[in-house]
């Protein structure tokens, strides 16, 4: 099963290396990892998507908690949460296909953020299924490049993860 874990860490150099090293050293599988500063510049928040059964997940959480620079670890998969990913897709767009690509992008509430003589760059956010569906539709036109942020997550409702 896939779990989305939110991790608050001290915003210092080397913290990412500690977490990456923990996963590789103990043989845990990371699907994606994203990181950015929080409102407090001393604290960063990571979202790690990890695959494994309950036993592995228990170890992942405990081992993360054991790192001195890790402040909090929460498994958001255990509660209602919102998960989103941002993807940029550079797709071949010749005169004949431009209108169709535009309408597909519209349907998925995406945006064309760059237009070239032969390409569109599309920005799309959403959950995994939505992004997969859009990419499947764009494949026939020819995808030149793709860049994804990995999943970021937040619990629903007024509860929040604090230091």
């Amino acid at each position: 099963m896939r779990h989305s874990i939110s991790v608050l860490v001290e915003n210092q150099f080397g913290v990412l290396a500690r977490i990456a090293g923990l996963f590789s050293g103990r043989g845990f599988n990371i699907d994606s990892l994203s990181v950015g500063e929080t409102i407090d510049p001393d604290v960063s928040r990571m979202t790690i998507v990890v695959r494994g059964d309950d036993r592995i997940l228990e170890q992942v959480m405990k081992q993360l908690n054991k790192l001195i620079n890790v402040i909090r670890v929460v498994d958001l998969s255990k509660e209602e949460h919102v998960g989103r990913e941002l993807v940029l897709v550079k797709v071949v767009a010749n005169q004949r296909d431009r209108a169709e690509i535009l309408s597909i992008t519209d349907i998925f509430r995406g945006k064309i953020v760059d237009v070239g003589p032969e390409t569109y760059t599309i920005e799309i956010t959403g959950d995994e299924n939505k992004i997969k569906a859009l990419i499947n539709l764009l494949v026939p036109f020819g995808i030149k490049e793709i860049a994804r942020t990995g999943r970021v997550c937040m619990g629903r409702g007024s509860k929040s993860i604090k230091v």
Partner: protein, 559 residues
């Protein structure tokens, strides 16, 4: 007041009450060594940085204080890695200071530069690179705090050369503030009550206790618990000394080379109470057949140890000393009489059926006999360090430890070459005790350069070499599982250990017959010089009994 980084470093050692450090100088730590020169801190110059790390580790194991090691950048730092990993696997409080090239040169592949923070990340509890001298007092304070609290472990602090001459007016802090580090010391009272109930109900309980008992200093509480409830106790390798080796409730060590009766007890048990132990593969054997009938209680300060290898029914996270004190209180209130009489009778029978044994009539010196004689003559009161392999297992089986912090051995990492430098650290921390390294001829050769260190500092360390002219444990496995093909384990080409000792200025003694063993030991213990004892033991003696790798504890080969 403005001080240089090197002055802050010395101030830190005084504040943390460090009496001795183990190290080796070099270009990147010249400022620090210059400050040390005029200070009251004792510095022991080992002849290899690995030995400095092991000595600091053993100083910590034998005294309970934090061990300190100081080395230069690059190769000085990388040479300590084995010592750091050894301490990490066995949860030993240690702070290793490494020199580093000046901050503007970091990343340039400068002379004697190594990314030691990157290299040691997976084998330290935490590590630091100090990039600003204003951070130095805080980092030093945190390093000692992290190393010695919670589940202890080594901390590396990398000190660039320019930081040591830069000045700061930041004071050395009294307290640390770490958002992400707050170990749990007291156990959950509700859980403790449940554990007491389980203990009272159990018919075939076993206390399985590890290095955590020694670290938390709860040997008295453990003895009380065992005697109150009449529950037998088995120790892991690192737990030896945590329970008196001569107590009738003691089952000896469990696991791969544990006693037959300890492993039987685990297999037949209906309740395992694990205290400061981590269900290591050398202890459990085949995990699916480990204690198949037992409920498992696990008391440990590290939550990540719980349910890592074996599913635990009743966990308690906390310091074993606090938890056992509460548990004993609870049990006293319950006033339930122990129900283990039949169980203990059965175990007594097992003890008689298959005790630890060896052939006493061979006419050759048996290595087990040497360990028994060491035990008899030192009355179980010596500090024993070991290398790894047969010498380590025989020491664990045949020396009955009377006190905690007396058996120093690399359990988790299994580092040969540990025992001799460890004896240096142990003797520095315990000048009035007898310190003996029980070694193999192979393992002793891995760090024998330290002979000159014990001579220089007049440390009366004794080395008992069980000289079988083999890398014995590997040979044993080759004999049993590789059809006696002794690939690279035969080391007949060896130095004359007596002359070697003499060349360094130590005393060398040799025993070739069983009747020479005791006189050699007595002569060694009667001199206050370092002594190397060369015991020419039966070359192909094996460690028995044995659980084959991957086998279940019940499938022990008795030999």
């Amino acid at each position: 007041m403005k001080r240089t980084g090197a002055e802050v470093f010395i101030e830190c050692l005084y504040n943390e009450k460090v009496e001795v450090i183990f190290g080796f100088p070099g270009g990147a730590v010249l400022q620090i060594y210059d400050e040390l020169f005029g200070s009251e801190i004792k510095h022991i110059l080992t002849r290899h940085e690995q030995a400095a790390a092991h000595a600091a580790d053993a100083y910590a194991r034998s005294t309970g204080k934090t061990g300190v090691c100081l080395v230069t950048s690059g190769p000085g730092a990388t040479n300590t890695v084995t010592g750091i990993a050894t301490a990490y696997m066995d949860s030993i409080p240690m702070v290793v200071f490494t020199g580093q090239v000046p901050t503007p040169m970091i990343g340039n592949d400068a002379f004697q530069e190594a990314d030691i923070v990157g290299i040691t990340r997976p084998v330290t509890k935490h590590n630091y690179l100090v990039k600003d001298v204003d951070d130095l007092p805080r980092v030093l304070k945190e390093a000692f705090y992290i190393a010695s609290t919670g589940r202890p472990g080594p901390v590396v602090v990398d000190l660039p050369k320019d930081i040591m001459s830069a000045k700061t007016d930041r004071p050395y802090p009294n307290k640390v503030q770490l958002k992400g580090y707050n170990p749990t010391y007291s156990g959950h009272l509700g859980q403790i009550k449940k554990v007491a109930q389980e203990i009272v109900k159990a018919k075939r309980p076993v206390l399985y206790t590890g290095g955590g008992v020694i670290i938390s200093g709860c040997h008295k509480e453990l003895l009380k618990l065992a005697e109150l409830t009449r529950i037998p106790v088995t120790n892991t390798l690192l737990g030896l000394g945590g329970f008196p080796g001569t107590n009738p409730l003691f089952l000896g060590m469990l696991g791969m080379h544990g006693t037959w009766y300890a492993n039987n007890a685990i297999t037949d048990s209906d309740l395992i109470i694990a205290i400061g132990a981590r269900f290591d593969d050398r202890v459990t054997g085949k995990i699916s057949e480990f204690a198949p009938h037992a409920k498992i209680i696990h008391i440990d300060i590290d939550p990540s140890s719980i349910s890592k290898n074996v599913k635990v029914d009743l966990p308690i996270v906390g310091d074993a000393k606090n938890v056992l004190a509460e548990l004993n209180k609870e049990l006293k209130q319950l006033k339930a009489p122990p129900q283990t009489r039949d169980w203990l009778t059965k175990i007594e029978q097992w003890k008689k059926e298959h005790p630890l044994k060896y052939n006493k009539k061979s006419g050759k010196i048996k290595p087990q006999f040497v360990v028994e004689e060491l035990y008899r003559i030192t009355k179980g009161e010596a500090i024993i360090t070991t290398e790894v392999g047969q010498n380590q297992m025989w020491a664990a089986q045949f020396y009955k430890f009377a006190n905690p912090r007396s058996f120093l051995s690399s359990g988790g990492l299994g580092t040969i070459g540990y025992g001799f430098p460890a004896a240096i650290g142990a003797q520095m921390g315990n000048p009035d005790r007898v310190v003996i390294d029980i070694a193999g001829d192979g393992s002793f050769q891995m760090n024998l350069q330290e002979l000159i260190t014990v001579v220089q500092y007049r440390l009366p360390v004794k080395v008992a070499i069980l000289n079988n002219r083999f890398l014995g444990m590997v040979r044993q496995w080759q004999q049993l599982f590789f059809n006696k093909r002794y690939s690279s384990t035969c080391i007949h080409c060896a130095p004359d250990f007596v002359k070697l000792a003499e060349a360094f200025g130590a005393v060398g003694l040799r025993a070739e017959k069983p009747e020479e063993v005791a006189p050699v030991i007595e002569q060694a213990l009667n001199t206050n010089k370092p002594v190397v004892m060369d015991f020419r033991v039966d070359p192909e003696e094996n460690v028995a009994p044995m659980v084959p790798a991957g086998g279940a504890l019940k499938d022990m080969i008795l030999v």
